[in-house]
């Protein structure tokens, strides 16, 4: 049997008695997906959707035709493609919509999809401008549709458990979040040549231009803002930021590094930094509380405790001479205290093998579409991080401390 014949055999569901057919999954309610925006992130989302039983891709919309063949390969089938999102939304075989277009297009696409009455999974950030964020929430609420924002870390088991323990008080009162997402690369995509007028450059490398991109603070920092919002239980009140072009003087108009400080009530702070010329620290987030700290990464979460908490007698060990300090068991006569950073192990959050958070979030969305439960990362979650990104994007250019507005309930105002 040659390879072609083998592939054909593997596709024959009629072979009910063969091992090939026995692997079939039980029947589930089908969910047919329409996709607006089939670039790199949209394709990754589609791969994850296809890992959920019962999901198929009905059609895609993208204005860059080379994406069509890429999606066909990804899906293993010929997927109808169009450059018009209205054509896509007029189809009768779309049960839910994935929107993974550039952030500056989100409002137009989400609002049109909401008016079609379908559930939406919208990639972050919610909207590009403050007004975009406001309009998206208005329309989603008016249409009474399911909307999930692409903050996948809300669905990561180790993140959920860490936040649960933080909210329970395991590190005392959380006061500061220090977050970074550092890479070593120019953030560019290859552009076909020739490219008269740099049209393809702006289409493909939209992340590099202020008119179409929120820069590193939005494209990378929105996840960290969302987690800080979750931990602090509110959106930030204001933001102070700065950025520069340090390495990549290639015509881009957003910074190749950015630093922002978000102020929350009660003097609490999120600081976010992103570099693109040094990846040492990677993507991580530290939550500092009065009695301990938590490091959250894309694969795990680890707790460390401050000395003053671990030295305090507890009800079950009132005079114990064994001290658990910063995750280390020590004797009473030895202390890891001092001004040196603690470099030892902490207490890792155990939630089993770390799966892919994007798959977890997409599976949850599909379950919500099937009516099995509601949405955790809903449009309000999206607004609270999205509006902070929008304001921070302007703040890094102005250098001014800038207030971040809350959602105005247009329906109740009317």
């Amino acid at each position: 049997m040659n390879r072609r014949a083998f592939l054909e055999a593997a596709s024959l569901t009629a072979l009910a008695s063969s091992p090939l057919a026995r692997a079939a999954a039980p029947a589930v309610k089908p969910v047919r997906l329409g996709v607006i925006g089939a670039g790199s992130r949209g394709q990754e989302d589609m791969r994850q959707f296809l890992r959920v039983p019962g999901v198929t891709i009905s059609a895609i919309c993208d204005i860059y035709p080379p994406r069509y063949a890429q999606v066909n390969r990804l899906a293993g089938a010929e997927i109808p493609a169009t450059a018009s999102y209205t054509d896509l939304l007029s189809r009768h075989d779309v049960d839910a919509v994935l929107i993974a277009s550039p952030v500056s297009c989100h409002a137009e696409h989400v609002i049109a999809a909401a008016r079609s009455g379908r559930p939406i999974l919208g990639e972050k950030a919610l909207g590009f401008t403050v007004e975009d964020n406001q309009k998206i929430v208005d329309e989603v609420l008016r249409a009474k549709i399911l909307f999930q924002i692409g903050h996948e870390y809300r669905y990561a088991p180790w993140v959920k458990e860490a936040v649960r323990r933080i909210c329970r008080g395991d590190i005392g009162k959380p006061t500061h979040v220090e977050a970074c997402w550092n890479r070593n690369g120019d953030w560019r995509r290859a552009v076909p040549s020739p490219d008269p007028g740099q049209k393809l450059e702006h289409l493909i490398n939209w992340r590099l231009y202020r008119e179409t991109s929120g820069g590193l603070g939005t494209e990378l920092g929105s996840h960290h803002i969302d987690l800080a919002n979750w931990i602090f239980g509110e959106q930030p009140e204001s933001v102070l930021g700065t950025h520069s072009i340090c390495i990549y003087h290639d015509g881009r108009t957003v910074g190749d590094n950015v630093q922002s400080v978000f102020q929350y009530s009660g003097g609490r702070r999120l600081t976010f930094s992103s570099l693109t010329d040094n990846a040492k620290s990677g993507n991580q987030l530290w939550v500092y509380g009065t009695e301990g700290s938590v490091q959250i990464t894309i694969e795990d979460a680890t707790f460390f405790y401050e000395k003053k908490r671990s030295n305090q007698p507890t009800a079950d060990k009132p005079i114990s001479k064994t001290i658990v300090e910063r995750g280390v068991v020590t004797g009473a006569s030895y202390s890891t205290a001092g001004e040196m950073p603690y470099r030892g192990p902490g207490e890792r959050v155990e939630t089993g093998p770390a799966g892919d958070p994007t798959l977890d979030s997409i599976r949850s969305f599909v379950e919500a579409v099937r009516g099995e439960h509601g949405i955790d990362a809903d449009v309000h979650v999206g607004f609270r991080s999205g509006v902070a990104c929008s304001v921070a994007h302007d703040a890094v250019f102005s250098g001014n401390r800038t207030p971040i507005p809350k959602y105005r309930d247009s329906a109740s105002l009317a």
Partner: protein, 351 residues
């Protein structure tokens, strides 16, 4: 085994056609990928290399059995309990792997995960396992334990504790994916190597008919065994020089015979050229595990367009089997030659 690309200096070299050779490297899949790329713009070359290495990273995230978050690890965790729905690309990978398992009668086998672990190759802590431990994994090693439904994109294991290990095919699959990026970016000449395992020669350097590749002979001399010119073809090689351990004076190779559950003995090195890097990577394992006679039959039946060189024996008696391998062979390395019927007989000689 180190397969060398030769013919231009390691540093960038300008050609009359204004194409310049750029070299980029990137760590992934426990090796270093190297991309040699001809372009007339340094920035363009850098952008393309970024895309290529991003694609390799993406495939590693898909297939790594060292990462809990990979798709392959998700399948390993869940497929014994019931059918796991996966994406089309992963299904394509599994179908290709299953194909080479089937046609090689299990000489290539994706289910060697547990076998690699009991021999200590998973964490570079090689040791000879006790017979009882080997016996315990007999039922979980075997490609027939993988049940695929390509139409439904589902995979299920017929036995508990089956573990897929992409080591014998994953780099080739990544190279094929990266070459698709190079083609989409309209690159006319590039060579991508995945460490010493698999490389792909795309197009040809300016004014050349292809990329000149040196296949070194067995250690310790490492002198040239053969030199071939590749164009739009992959080349995969396998030997034991980089992953092995010695116990009681005996060297154990990391390439396993899934039938015996033992490291392969008697094979020194193999190289195989094929249009598909996925195929050549898998077939390099097949050629290493099967006897040369079996290998030549497998190639004739299922990879008739491949070219292969198989070096077997011991230090004092080496013999080579060739399948359509028309490049000159150093007779010092191969005093005994066996050619398949597809081979045009020619006297061994150096260029």
């Amino acid at each position: 085994m180190l397969v060398l690309f030769s013919g231009v200096p390691a540093h960038a070299r300008r050609t009359p056609s204004a194409l310049t050779l750029y070299t980029f490297s990137h760590p992934a899949m426990a090796t270093t990928f190297t991309l040699y790329l001809y372009s007339n713009h340094a920035a363009r070359a850098a952008e393309v290399s970024n895309e290529v290495f991003e694609e390799i990273d993406r495939v590693e995230q898909l297939l790594s059995n060292y990462r809990d978050s990979s798709e392959l690890s998700r399948i390993n965790r869940n497929a014994a309990a019931g059918p796991v729905t996966t994406d089309a690309e992963t299904m394509d990978f599994l179908v290709q792997a299953q194909h080479w398992s089937q046609v090689s009668d299990g000489a290539f086998d994706l289910t060697v995960g547990s076998l690699m672990k009991v021999w200590g190759f998973y964490r570079h802590q090689g040791h000879v396992p006790p017979p009882a431990e080997l016996a315990s994994i007999r039922t979980v090693t075997g490609w027939q334990n993988i049940e695929l439904n390509a139409a439904e994109r589902t995979v299920r294991f017929a036995a508990p504790s089956v573990e897929l290990d992409p080591g014998g095919i994953g780099k080739g699959f990544a190279v094929d994916a990266a070459v698709r990026i190079l083609r989409a970016d309209q690159i006319s000449a590039a060579l991508l190597s995945a460490g010493s395992s698999t490389l792909y020669a795309l197009g040809a350097p300016p004014h050349r008919s292809g990329w000149r590749i040196v296949v070194p002979g067995p250690l310790p001399s490492h002198s040239t065994l053969s030199t071939l010119t590749l164009r739009d073809s992959s080349l995969s090689s396998a030997d034991c020089s980089q992953k092995n351990f010695v116990a009681d004076g005996h060297q154990y190779c990391h390439i396993m015979d899934p039938h015996t559950l033992q490291p392969v003995e008697g094979r020194i090195q193999v190289s195989i050229a094929d249009p598909s890097a996925t195929a050549s990577d898998a077939l390099s394992n097949v050629l290493f595990v099967q006897s040369p006679q079996q290998s030549l039959r497998t190639l004739a039946a299922y990879a008739p367009h491949a070219r292969a060189l198989i070096v077997s024996g011991a230090a004092n008696q080496v013999f080579c089997a060739l399948f359509r391998w028309d490049a000159p062979i150093d007779p010092q390395h191969c005093p005994l030659l066996q050619r398949s019927s597809q081979n045009t007989p020619r006297k061994p000689s150096m260029p």
